[in-house]
Amino acid sequence: MKLRTLSASLMLAGFGLVSQSALANISDDVIRIGFITDMASVYSDIDGPGGIEAARMAIADAGGEINGKKIELIFADHQNKADVAAAKAREWFDQQKIDMLMGGTNSGVNLALAGIAAEKKKVFMAVGAAASDLTGAQCSPYTAHWAYDTVALARGTGSAIVKAGGKSWYFLTADYAFGHALERDTANVVKAAGGEIKGQVRAPLNSSDFSSFLLQAQSSGAQILGLANAGGDTINSIKAANEFGIGKTMKMAGLLIFINDIHSLGLNVTQGMQFTDGWYWDQNDETRAWAAKFEAKIKRKPSMVQAGDYSAVSYYLQAVKATGSDDADTVMKWLKSTKINDMFAKNGYLREDGRMVHDMFLMEVKKPSESKGPWDYYKQLAVLPGETVYTTLAESTCKLIKK
């Protein structure tokens, strides 16, 4: 192999690498927020570019600067790969000197990011992720898990439905860690509330056809079909359930549903479904006003995650302003001692283990006749106070909690 070829390759590589570092901006007079989320793949509608916009709105509403220091937002697409996200986060911490890291959708990614933020001792706000482990076994003093988690969803939906009479359950579970966790958390709640689990079937992730699993569910004779899956799997299973008339003998309980899923499926297919959500655009004037501003830019109503992004960034900026510092320990201390009450969260507070506990809501999907237009999909059945649905401190597996 020619020396010339080798040296040509070498020069090319060299220039590339050096330019890479030259582009790195090292500046400490800027409050820099780094946001990593799924921009183009399975979870991009729930968070994605809409989430970025929500964060921008929060920065704008805070005035764009704090005590003379500009606020800057940088973002990246993790493409649902934890290693892409981790590499980007490391680079941002080491080279771009970000002050706060935000995690969008995808639990695996968020767990990885939490670890890195803890290593670098910087604030990490997990908004889009569902994994309760973020404030459990893998908790950290720098993680704030803002919007929701699997336990809250399970407890909210599970206990509400059992109370309303849905005592016998059958689970259709996505066969991976997240699905199992969702099933386990809900099953525990159902049993504790006096209900009965008739059985479960584990479907491989990204199954295209659920008909066979649904038939098994139907033949179990249970009243409630618990959908312990997310994203495309949820959508496909609901569609198939509708086709096979499962709705005639069982009621469907979605354990992780976003308004984008309902929008995608349509009310015909989803009407009557009950689930827990952390926020809905049509709850009160405040939410409606914010949602209208969001819709003007993104042409869609916001999801709980996107509203959560706005709230998380707002509160971070408030913390920085109030304490006059972007030191992570100081900011976290302030956040954990402040009431969180804004457009997104009601009766909220940030716990020692990083869990932002706030009211959740039991929702039911409207019938097509009850809906006045696109995105008018939910009726709120009940308010679920945070303490009743999130993991209690006594149960917590987080090492930071002294028992």
Binding site: A40, S208, F213, L215, S219, G232, E243
Partner: protein
């Protein structure tokens, strides 16, 4: 209640029937792959993306032009076929003289391109598509309630598969095709326009994929990723069946659909891998595939 292996007979038969429905998709898709491979010696990795394209066309026809399901069932395969002609004439043609692997790599690149583009414009949550009026509702077969649409899928697939098999194995056109596979030069010497035949064959193969896409539209959420979930399984089906055999592709597709359906009952966690396990076994015992011929 009669039980088979501990499962009530009713449920068992129900699952068998559902497996047949899935098998129909496998059959059409592997048929298209087999046809393309037989004549062009190209593994059309883009088959999954083209299947997705067919489904999207059905949705686009409905949403943008108000064209109903039946129109799109006929139109979408034609459009996909035309697109296939473009791919073949502009891109694939240049690779015939080279190692076959380049064809696979090219179609792999096309898959990424198509999926990326659709994802970029339409997101991934998927588009809803409703079952056509005439096929709504379900029939109570006694042992299960079968949605009419699924019955239609089986019927349509079997008809199309049988028609394809008949054309290829029993008509003069098919004979020319098969001869062209064996010895293109000789066939060309007889005055047959082989390049045109190749182009049309590719178009037909991908039109089959588009057809399967339209069939799938009311059942699954139409998402840019629907093809990639399916394509690897279809590859395994084709390897098991033995490539180059039309009948092999059809029978294997249907058979594996049924086996997969049964696995979902007895051992659900394994249902996504059972096809690959069978592939491994077949490879050990009969490397050429069940219906294949060692070349």
């Amino acid at each position: 209640m009669i039980t088979i292996f501990g499962i009530p007979l009713q449920a068992f038969l129900g699952q068998l029937l559902l497996g047949l429905v899935n098998g129909s998709f496998y059959a059409i898709l592997s048929l298209g792959l087999a046809v393309i491979f037989g004549l062009l010696n190209v593994i059309n990795f883009a088959h999954g993306a083209l299947y997705m394209f067919g489904a999207f066309l059905a949705w686009m026809g409905m949403s943008y032009f108000g064209l109903n399901y039946w129109v799109m069932l006929a139109l979408a395969p034609v459009l996909v076929g035309l697109f296939g002609i473009v791919i073949e004439k502009c891109l694939l043609k240049h690779l015939y003289k080279l190692d076959h692997l380049y064809g696979l790599l090219l179609t792999f690149g096309i898959t990424l391109l198509m999926e990326g583009l659709f994802r970029s414009f339409y997101g991934v949550s998927g588009q809803p598509y409703s079952t056509p009026e005439a096929l709504r509702g379900a029939t109570n077969l006694g042992f299960m309630v079968l949605p009419n649409y699924r019955a239609w899928v089986v019927v349509a697939s079997v008809v199309v598969c049988f028609a394809t098999w008949y054309v290829i194995e029993r008509t003069r056109l098919g004979a020319l095709l098969r001869a062209g596979t064996e010895n293109p030069r000789l066939v060309e010497a007889f005055g047959v326009n082989v390049p045109l035949m190749i182009t049309l064959t590719y178009a037909f193969g991908v039109a089959l994929a588009g057809f399967a896409g339209v069939l799938a539209a009311p059942i699954l959420q139409i998402s840019p990723l629907m093809g990639s979930n399916l394509i690897v399984v279809v590859f395994a089906v084709v390897v098991i069946g033995g490539m180059g055999s039309i009948l092999g592709a059809i029978v294997t597709g249907l058979g594996l659909g049924i086996i997969e359906g049964l696995t979902k009952v007895f051992w659900p966690e394994a249902s996504s891998t059972v096809v690959f396990i069978i592939m491994a076994i077949v490879l050990l015992v009969r490397p050429a595939g069940l219906f294949g011929k060692e070349k």
